[in-house]
Subunit: 458 residues, 2 copies
């Protein structure tokens, strides 16, 4: 396509929006993530000698196009919502404007990164919401869909609220605390469990999280852990706690808590893992399972109950001979009809407060400044009754991205930003099950433009 655009429409510029139509796990919103990696990839985007040789031998492309790639220089402008922003269906997560030939070429790279990281940040938000303040460790590297997926997934998990990761590469790369406990193989490597625990405590007297389910949690694991904790206390150390990774977590944690408390280890923490997700966490906490920390593996790092964020990259406008031509994609499925034109998205707050009540997508040249505004539900499956909204403060969601400079926000800064943005949303939008559908309007002018383009094509 890029080869064709360079031949047929070499001077056109285009605007593409990235947005999604459905939220994973039937949630209300997505947590945007991946912008920092998109910027990093775009900064170094080029085609090396082996790429050029490959393109030549395909014998599909013009010489002019091959030259264009060999001398590729990015000339695009990007606006995007900051990482960590909760964002709703149909709202552009990112907008890219530049030469048509270039903007087309970026589609797969940019969508791949944003879809992946936003998916995992969204799942992490759900799991951390269920954990209700208890630390959640990201434990999924061995089950992630490939090496990158583990490392960038760990980054996204922190953005969504996790505290640490067992992925040491991600820990190094993004300054995340590395966390974990021994595995069963530590225990198996020694002749018996007690020896295994003692050797561990010898090496890590202040980091003595013991995995108690290699043979039998209640008959062997916890009694042996208690013996080792007593030895640690006798030598002036504070025992950390235990981890349980199999069996009935509710039953075992209650028994374990009793046994630890009776032995005087009220401070010893109980960490659990084993195929947990937000639903299992909710059920365990509902039955008051005494859990201090969660380790979440495959169900977080793959968002396994809803493993795809279906972000799309759609043309919104073409700039040709100085004219902006808004563009639309029509479809037999109503929800696949796009919002045409260059747009801006605003979050609307009750005046003078930090409490948001709705968003509005408007045309870029409209003024959205708190004066009465005629709007329409942007949900394509809703009834289209115009309403007037008034008395609001509007804050734009997208910001200009500086491609010449790397963003050096740390993942925990992004996590804090995200928590702040979440606090602005109504409680009923944040809950996990059957959340209230927060209203995303489009301005009357945008709705009229969409209708005019539909009428023109149908």
């Amino acid at each position: 396509m890029a080869n064709g655009f360079l031949q047929q429409l070499p001077k056109d510029r285009a605007t593409f929006d990235i947005f999604f139509r459905r939220v994973p796990d039937e949630g209300s919103f997505v947590i945007a993530a991946g912008l920092q990696q998109v910027v990093g990839e775009l900064q170094k985007l080029h085609f090396d000698a082996s790429d050029i040789a490959y393109f030549k031998q395909l014998k599909l492309y013009d010489e002019a196009f091959i030259d264009y790639l060999a001398n590729f220089k990015l000339d695009c402008e990007i606006t995007a919502v900051p990482e960590g922003t909760p964002i709703f269906p149909r709202e552009p997560l990112m907008t890219i404007e530049g030469p048509l030939v270039q903007v087309q070429m970026l589609e797969t790279l940019v969508l791949n990164i944003l879809n992946h990281q936003s998916l995992i940040a969204t799942k992490a938000r759900r799991i951390n919401y269920a954990a209700a303040g208890r630390p959640v460790m990201e434990f999924g590297a061995r089950r992630a869909q490939g090496p990158d997926s583990a490392t960038y997934g760990a980054r996204a998990a922190i953005i969504g609220g996790c505290s640490s990761t067992s992925n040491v590469l991600a820990a190094k790369q993004f300054q995340i605390p590395a966390a974990g406990t021994m595995a069963h193989s530590w225990v198996e490597a020694f002749d018996d469990e007690l020896t295994a625990f003692q050797k561990w405590a010898e090496i890590y007297p202040d980091n003595s999280a013991l995995l108690v389910d290699t043979y039998d949690v209640l008959k062997s694991g916890i009694p042996n852990a208690i013996k080792v904790f007593q030895q640690l206390v006798a030598t002036g150390h504070q025992p950390v706690g235990i981890r349980i990774d199999s069996g009935d977590i509710g039953y075992l944690t209650k028994k374990a808590r009793q046994m630890l408390d009776q032995a005087g280890f009220m401070q010893a923490k109980i960490t659990v893992s084993n195929a947990l997700d937000e639903n299992v966490i909710t059920a365990l906490l509902q039955e008051q399972a005494p859990i201090d920390n969660f380790g979440i593996g495959e169900k977080l790092i793959t968002s396994s109950s809803s493993p795809v964020l279906s972000g799309v990259y759609k043309m919104a406008a073409i700039e040709r001979d100085g004219r902006i031509i808004p563009k639309i994609k029509i479809s037999g499925s109503r929800e696949k009809i796009t919002l045409p034109g260059r747009k801006r998205t605003y979050r609307l707050f009750y005046p003078g407060t930090d409490k948001a009540f709705a968003d509005v997508i408007a045309l870029a040249d409209e003024r959205i400044d708190g004066r009465p505004l005629e709007v329409i539900n942007s949900d394509p499956l809703s009834v289209k009754n115009p309403t007037v909204i008034q008395d609001f403060d509007a804050r734009e969601l997208q910001q200009t991205v500086n491609l010449a400079q790397s963003t050096d926000k740390s993942v925990f800064e992004i996590q804090r930003f995200s928590k702040g943005r979440l606090a602005q949303l109504p409680d009923e939008t944040q809950r996990l099950t059957n959340p209230d559908r927060y209203m995303v309007f489009m301005s009357k002018s945008l709705a009229d433009l969409q209708q005019a383009l539909l009428d023109q094509r149908l």
Copy 2:
């Protein structure tokens, strides 16, 4: 753990098995994939200056361990089933033997790669089985879980039977045909659909697959495609066909086929995409939808209906002071109890044929050579009645992996190998829904060893 093992058990060697307990999508077997990347990663495994600096500043490790990492030299032996092999629950996909400290360190890297690629190869096998010989193009890069996931996922998709990929990087890297058609943005970029199609045909007269659903498939897309096909024929070219990416694929392809045939384009192919998987393909072919090619995106590249292959890495034995000590992991969940000891897995064939009827996992020092063999169902949830099997040819599944040499088998060689191995399995094991559970036995000697270790611990 590696730091601890180096201190406590520096001379021990260990054997770990990689296997899985459950097959994605309730299938009968997994297609093994990823070995070539595991070998590549192990060949280059090292810790650079920045890694060493990072480990030092964690202040968790001995100086001896940091030195060990700085001078890391892999000293492991690997056996594995060749890529493309169909393999069943509990059978070691790979076995790694080496210094305990090293073998422990490889867990996450090796599991990540094998779990990911085997998952996608397995899903691709299902989709290609449903497509019944029609070419399947891998179209998922923009929805994959990160960049690696797209590229190695495309590789695995070919192993599982796909014909081509839309991921040009994967195409280049693994010599796979790059495939795809125009996107909706090509059509939108021009003033009208007919012009868009004509411009495409001008550039690619012999590659004229036209996407007909940007505005309206039956009223606009196909009539315009037919006009362009007539112009192509008039100038001596053979029209390729159309792609439909939305709406009801069954209804639209039947109408499209009629319209193309009536216009004399019986040779024009119909390609479909849009959230397809093996179930939708089965349903479409059952209603005789006239489809020539499938493009499969997110549901293949993430195996979205079953997005995790839960391969595990479990200690089977320790070698200490010249003695081999078999090891077991016990659990409250029967299915989590491991098979101890150094083992070998055999596929059993009716004598003198290429038809397999069962597999058997035996201890490494047993002779499995067709003489009567006492075996037990290895499924931990089954009743344990010993049986004697006789009259069989046994072929070992794992092969020694040469770590000093890169395997340069092409992905299509692996695909052919896989098809050959699949043809050896009973038809009823290959079907997609409710497949027959192919029998995986363990030898009586292995079962006895497992029971002895269980008795010793319980």
